[in-house]
Amino acid sequence: MTASGTQRPDADVRELKFRDPARGAALAAALAKTVGEIGRAPVSVMHVCGSHEQAIARFGLRTAFPRGLDVIMGPGCPVCITDQPEVDEAVALARQGVRIATYGDMVRVPGTAASLADAQAEGAHVDVVYSIDQAIALAAASSEPLVFFATGFETTAVATAAAILAGLPPNFFVLSAHKYIPPVMEIVAEMPGSRIEGFVAAGHAATITGWGVFEAFVARHGVPVVVAGFEPLDILAALVRLAELIRDGARTVENMFPRCVTRDGNLVAQRQLWQVFTPIGGRWRGIAHVPNGNLRLLDRWSHLDARRRFAIDLTRLWDEAPSLLSQQCQCGDIMSGLRTPADCALFGAECLPETPVGACMVSSEGTCRIWHEYGVPR
């Protein structure tokens, strides 16, 4: 599974420079020592955030990890875990002539057989936005109905909630594919074949939920959770703490990102989130049905719900089938921590950022895209 090799750096070549080199070296030494004290290898831990993987790869952090430590990215890319049928709904609406606005990478994510970019090429009206505010401005400037295809984890769902509570133009509708991270950690932890001994929780999602949300998880699954920030030193410090907890057999949640995360989280944002959404079970692409993993609009917002407002015609899908290539896509196993992009025959060959087969190569937060950009770790 060699890469096509176009300007792809070797991860080992990427120079690791810490803001505080002495502290970086001390943390790297502490990590090696602690992982050694665990006395078995490899020790596998999982983070659940595309931004963490970006930082780990971008700053060459894996070169500072000891050989016995495996840091795996789990289902932390909101674009990647948006399921094919959810994309199909947006594509069907677009093909029916409804204007769609959505966050950038969503446009190229394949549904069962087509993406929003395909619909756009056929003449559908699809706008890329960077915030729900921009989608609202587009709707306000027109009388045409606009559906905001709302994707992302709780960090982004709270923005959708706040915008809904603040009031929307009458021609603005929401197709929610928002997802909630804590429940999927349960699924991944229970997966047969999972070797995960500890989790690194995403700092900004935890800014919303608080670190207390992971206490029940830790009690149920007996694996420690450490909340981490995004700077290289933050990540390294969190991994040292996680390794210590694994070594000591401690089953606790530790907050290593106190400048942003509190035990209760952002209660103002949570209040708005649960005034607008309710958790409901749903599929995460390639992973599993996740109980309470999806965020659905509450009934009081049904007048804004694109699924209720429009008859979404998915019959055209009956004539379309997923491509043979996409059936070889390993995204689901990669996001579950069971494989890496290096295990996928398509990675860097048929599957490239310009011609992605799976969602993980589309999104800037997908493991495949990140490894393609910054290099495959040794």
Binding site: V79, D133, Q134, R259
Partner: protein
């Protein structure tokens, strides 16, 4: 999509803050932030909303990383996500 970007509040008008992001002034919505925000404070912006006020004494390292990202790389994946966060705010 969850990285966010920190900035320094210049001015508050109702539910909007005018925020300086590394020399670029943009407006950020304040409905989601859970502490009072005043000029001089730092906030973390995500998709056009402040989701956290960050104490000034804790911000230095965070700012350094973003400055490095924005300075070093034009076509970098992570830097592009930071730019995307800025595009999500109001001019």
């Amino acid at each position: 999509m969850c990285l966010g970007v920190p900035g320094r509040v210049i001015e508050i008008r109702d539910n909007l803050a005018l925020v300086d992001f590394f020399g670029v002034s943009r407006q950020v919505r304040l409905e989601l932030v859970d502490e009072p925000v005043a000029p001089g404070d730092y906030i973390l912006n995500h998709v056009g909303f402040a989701i956290r006020r960050i104490p000034e004494q804790d911000i230095e390292g965070t700012l350094a990383m973003y400055q490095q990202l924005l300075r070093e790389a034009e076509h970098d994946l992570m830097a592009a996500d930071v730019q995307g966060e800025l595009k999500g705010t109001r001019e």
